[in-house]
């Protein structure tokens, strides 16, 4: 099934919503294991749409997508959860579950795969420390600030040590110091082998990093 050594491969991918014009056109992208990319571009260029294709909530209207050696165009729905467990996602709007505590939100990906609380308790607390929210384990998301919620979302995305981390504006709600710290955390995760794609408008953040930058412009992808 595998076409390349890339963990993600997009070939001539196009996406349109309904009968509208294509929001993504002829996208070709190869992500090798352990790579770190920024994805940038003006608002409405299609960054979120591209991420939706990558975290499998949208199917392209044309082209081929291969992930972790699986042809996503022919993969059955039943096998999607297994692929999704290899992907960590940080949403722009966090998507935390308000009725669960910070601790429970972070532990969610491990709970879903059937791990026992005693097996992940230490990991969750370690991660709470990692994102600077050690004192907030039993707090519910609605009482947290935007930046704190964002850090919970990041912790949730990385708790299962995914092979691929996709983050949509992960530093959009934090101050520059915290943004830099989070970037450092992503870098640390990347060193352990996780492939990372960060969609951001933050040119300062991109400038401080030497990682390759993918630029989306009017639905077409290129390198900066």
């Amino acid at each position: 099934m595998s076409r390349t050594s890339s963990i993600v491969s997009l070939q001539n991918v196009g996406l349109r919503y309904g009968k509208g014009r294509e929001v993504l056109r002829d996208i070709n992208l190869e992500l090798t294991p352990g790579s770190f990319h920024f994805l940038t571009g003006p608002s409405g260029a299609g960054k979120t749409s591209l991420l939706r294709l990558l975290f499998l909530t949208k199917k392209p209207t044309r082209g081929l997508i291969s992930m972790f050696g699986h042809d996503m165009m022919s993969l059955s729905r039943r096998r999607l959860p297994k692929i999704r467990r290899k992907i960590g996602v940080v949403f722009q709007d966090f998507r935390l579950l308000d009725h669960l505590t910070v601790y429970e939100n972070i532990a969610l990906p491990l709970r879903v795969v059937g791990q026992k609380p005693k097996d992940y308790r230490e990991n969750v607390h370690e991660l709470l420390n990692w994102v600077g929210l050690a004192d907030y384990a039993d707090v519910y998301p609605p009482v947290l600030s935007g930046g704190e919620q964002q850090r919970v979302a990041i912790a949730r995305a990385v708790i299962s040590q995914p092979d691929l981390l996709l983050a949509d504006e992960p530093t959009g709600n934090v101050d520059p110091v915290m943004a830099q710290r989070l970037l450092g955390l992503f870098g640390g995760l990347n060193k352990t082998g996780t492939t990372i794609v960060i969609a951001t408008h933050d040119s300062n953040l991109i400038a401080k990093s030497k990682n390759p930058v993918l630029v989306l412009n009017d639905g077409q992808l290129g390198y900066a």
Partner: protein
């Protein structure tokens, strides 16, 4: 302010689907009514079956010899001949020759209490109590009666029995039909509630999908809440239903009264060998309601989720 919460996690993991966002209260009210109606339908079916059994038993335990007057033989002679025949017939426990007034009284509802009855050739009746375990040969008995006694005939009440059975079958079919309709309505309710539950928790479902939850895992988060709702509704519905039958009995004069009230009371209060079967039948209501909620919710949720990406 929040530092005191450090390193604490809930002793018990919270449910992934917030119960407050489930349409469970509405479902429970509707399911309770359904279970109550099912309970009434089951009670009615049991009452009909018992009544038909009792009536059939009464009718089957008695036959009637009818003797029409004739000019050539005196009625008293005919009655003696019939008594003679009955005395010699095996399977006859006893018999009673009804007085002429008693026969006339039976006709009163149709002809009125008029003197004309005395002038009419009203047939005389002999009520015969038979041994139901070893009944007489009715064909032979009828033949002997008809041959030896002019104008005499034997009524085994078979026509009544057949009509009674037909009526009982119709009522039982009606009751079963009502139960089927209640079940269909309950399934439709659960499916509707499952859809509403998923709609209300769309974001939770989406997040669970994105972090790799399978459809059966998500269905499990919802179905147990439906199971609990089904069990609670079933229990409340059946308890109120049973209370209705007892109250019907008490309010109409208690166990000593007769008719429907007595039968309703007797459904649940009385000898355990009779009531235990009824209790088991009523117990089926919450069990079926619970299973129905569980299975219908799970299937509906899996079907809805299968349309998601």
């Amino acid at each position: 302010m929040l530092s005191g919460l450090k390193n604490k996690e809930p002793k018990k993991a919270s449910g992934l689907m917030p119960r407050s966002q489930m349409p469970l209260r509405t479902l429970m009210i509707a399911m309770t009514v359904m279970c109550y109606l099912a309970c009434l339908a089951i009670g009615a079916l049991v009452l009909i079956t018992q009544a038909v059994d009792d009536w059939s038993s009464d009718i089957a335990g008695e036959v009637t010899v009818q003797i029409r007057p004739s000019d050539n033989v005196k009625m008293s002679d005919k009655l003696k001949m019939i008594a003679g025949i009955l005395d010699k017939t095996n399977g006859v426990i006893s018999y009673e020759i009804l007085e002429k007034e008693a026969g006339a009284k039976l006709l009163e509802p149709w002809l009125g209490n008029a003197d004309i009855l005395d002038q009419l050739p009203v047939p005389r009746l002999v009520a015969v109590v038979i041994d139901q375990k070893t009944p007489p040969d009715f064909v032979k008995l009828e033949s002997v009666i008809k041959t030896r006694v002019d104008g005499a005939s034997l009524d085994t009440h078979r026509r009544w029995q057949e009509e009674l059975t037909r009526m009982a079958d119709s009522l039982i079919n009606l009751g079963v039909g009502v139960l089927v309709l209640i079940t269909i309505s309950a399934v439709a309710l659960v499916i509707f509630a499952s859809r509403t539950a998923l709609d209300a928790n769309r974001q939770v479902v989406e997040v669970l999908h994105l972090i790799g939850a399978t459809d059966p895992y998500i269905a499990r988060q919802v179905q147990w809440q439906f199971l609990k709702a089904g069990l609670q509704s079933g229990l409340v519905g059946v308890l109120v239903g049973m209370a209705t039958f007892i109250l019907l009995g008490i309010s109409s004069g208690g166990p000593a009264s007769s008719g429907l009230a007595d039968a309703s009371y007797g459904l649940l209060v009385g000898a355990p060998e009779v009531t235990s079967v009824n209790y088991l039948l009523f117990l089926l209501v919450p069990i079926i309601a619970t299973l129905l909620c569980l299975v219908a919710a799970r299937l509906a949720i899996l079907r809805i989720l299968s349309n998601a990406l």
